[in-house]
Amino acid sequence: MKTWKWFATASALALSLTVAQPSLADVSIDDIVKDAETTGDVVSNGLGPQGQRYSALKTVNTGNVAGLVPAWAMSLGGEKMRGQETQPLVKDGVMYITGSYSRAWAIDTKTGREIWQYDARLPEGILPCCDVINRGGALIKDKFIFGTLDAKLVALDAKTGKVVWTKKIDDFKAGYSYTAAPLVVPSEKHGPLIVTGVSGGEFGIVGRIEARKADDGELVWSRPTIEGHMGTLNGKESTMTGKKNATWPGDLWQTGGGATWLGGTYDPETKLIFMGTGNPAPWNSHMRPGDNLYSCSRLALDPETGEIKWHFQTTPNDGWDFDGVNEVVSFDLNGTKAAATADRNGYFYVLNRENGKFIGGYPFVKNISWAKGLDKDGRPIYVPENRPGNPTKSKDGKKGDSIFAVPSFLGGKNWMPIAYSKDTKLFYIPSNEWGMDLWNEPVTYKKGAAYLGAGFTIKPIFDDHIGSLKAMDPATGEVKWEYKNRAPLWGGILTTGGGLVFFGTPEGDLKAMDAASGKELWAFNTGSGIVGSPVTWEQDGEQFISVVSGWGGAVPLWGGEVAKTVAHLNQGGMVWTFKLPKQTAQKN
């Protein structure tokens, strides 16, 4: 900001009286590509398109984090307090967040005062599977773009919050919605592209990845994730995804799932988009023998054409709802262009991000039962008796044999993003230790109805904790430290050059741990559960840390016996921003 010198010399009283409007510059594609290197702003989901969630800032560090205090808090208001899974974006003194029920805000980062609010008018009959959440927006040029529960993409004027354009991603009545943060990537042919997927994995939809022009939302390319479906490029059919019926029997591929509900990451070095795909539909795997490509996979796509450059499937012929959507984080592994991902199935995978080749895979939760391990190519070595029984082989043909599998369908790790520290060279994985009773039932597809063919209950596997934050060495799979939490962890991680790891708990605490040792150094109770992802940035010489608090998401809806650990938690919706008091900051 131009006025920073003035701020530096102003008295505290003068500061409190200042109502200077921040001057807003457009967010360029360069700002986004280089977001990980710039500590003064956060203009992408993941604090950089690589998704490392690492900031080099060290004003707040292991030595002084105990003195962290709230700078301001802002309520999201209304009667729409549900899970707040957003990650704030910050640019030129303005914070942009999304909230439950497809709402969005711009907030003055100095005062916590609202600049504008946008409320989507949602139709009756939306079909979100797992709470009315939103995981954040994207900034590009003069726009703030986010997805809605009725499966639309809305571009708002970043200055006013007024709608510039809106595009329907798909029909909400068929089960589509959109909750992930859109990804913005550069392309030579089309300019900056907004890359999105689709949500609605439990309703028999077919996943796809789409790229749109930032200016007007015009569709450039579309890539279905299930083999046999045709992609498009510039309004014309392009190529088929995979080969029809190669790994799918009959016509089940037509409602084959593979929902791309968690959005993606981008690596500027290889110029590849990484997007994960959800479980194949229906859950009952006996109906669809074969690998069921490209369900439960990580895909690398060319931003220019939407062609699949490589894929890596974590759970072929999935029978446990082990979506492969979890984020792919680019990092350097002793000179190798690597990428890592912590899967729902309980394994942490390290891949070569240039070609998708398997480098290593390690369990990050305990007592995994469905597989004995991974083979040299990273393919799971199944435990056949831990696959739910085929209902057609049961006595009445209605319910197959029930099994107890670990992890549960909510995953060793669910949507909540991991972080990678360039300093400790460790990944920080918010995981959960739980299993499930699971059985299969016959099912037929009906538009807009849940398409599962399975029944389930979730059970904790330890008495004292479900949540488990682990620091893992990607070179060896060694767990360097673990923090155990009674309730399941459901929020993202942030790590900093100050040697810290920040994350929130359903119990409401935002915590700071020593990134090297796992020692808890600071905690603050935000008043409701945290299921969002913290961010940090620097402004006028001070380091700020923000998180949105508000309990919700899938756990309270699907939690089974787990509900005991979370039933007493109350809803909320509050943006909390922290900093060091000026004197504490100067001491270090």
């Binding site: 729409k80 409320d119 008018r121 009959g125 809305v154 709608v163």
Partner: protein, 290 residues
Amino acid sequence: MNADPQASGARATARLFGRVRALVAALSALLLGAMPASAAPGDDPLRSIMWTEMKAQFFADEPVVFDERVKVQVPRVVEDQAQVPITADARALDGVKKLVVFADLNPIQHVATLDVMKASPFIALRMKVEQATPVRAAAQTADGVWHIGSVFLDAAGGGCSAPAMARKDADWSQTLGHAQGKLYRELDGSVRVRFRVRHPMDTGLARDNTPSFFIEKLDLRSEQGEQLATLDLREPVSEDPTLTVLVRMPLNDSVLTILGRDNQGEEYRSIIPASWRQSATSDPPARNAE
């Protein structure tokens, strides 16, 4: 019988004061002519406590006069506060560029603005009222002066804070933007456009927390795409807006196109055929976002 001198004197005084008042009024009129910028609160024929605020909100420093040639019609009895028919008519003035409709005591005062272009300065619509209120039409003439017509609408309250009827209809989103309309040739050669479009027109003030959601722009086009008039609508316009405007469209045109956009960015397009004989229903509009 002697006349009471005192009474007579009082009458004379009254007459004198009457003359003085007339003189002051005439002088004011002169002043208004020369410097027509003062419509003080006291000037408002309805003595509305909101007038000063309304003047600042809608006219800022532009010249304003109260003018009975601008007619506002409202029903004597309001049957439904969410659907109050009103008519704003400034056809008695020449060279009107803009016609603004507002209601002083509504929580959202601005109802609609007609950018006249090739239309007549006339609009009929249905609006919501939250309580009894002055309803005004302000017509801006080519010289920049706003001419204001006012009427007091007596009504029971609640029209703006009651949820839209659409709230009870699970399928409202499926009929969003569907339109019906009819064109009538008037004696003076202009065309009367009557038009209804399906939209909840949520005010954002309803007790059920529904966000504001309303059509904010309508754009009337000739067959060749020429802009005939545009309308800015605001939250107080009733659910499923029903509007009448008068436009001059080319004689041989067989259709009138109405383009619309709401505050959530949805775009609508309706085509009204000019059959001149029978009413017609337009096709379901092409929704841009589909």
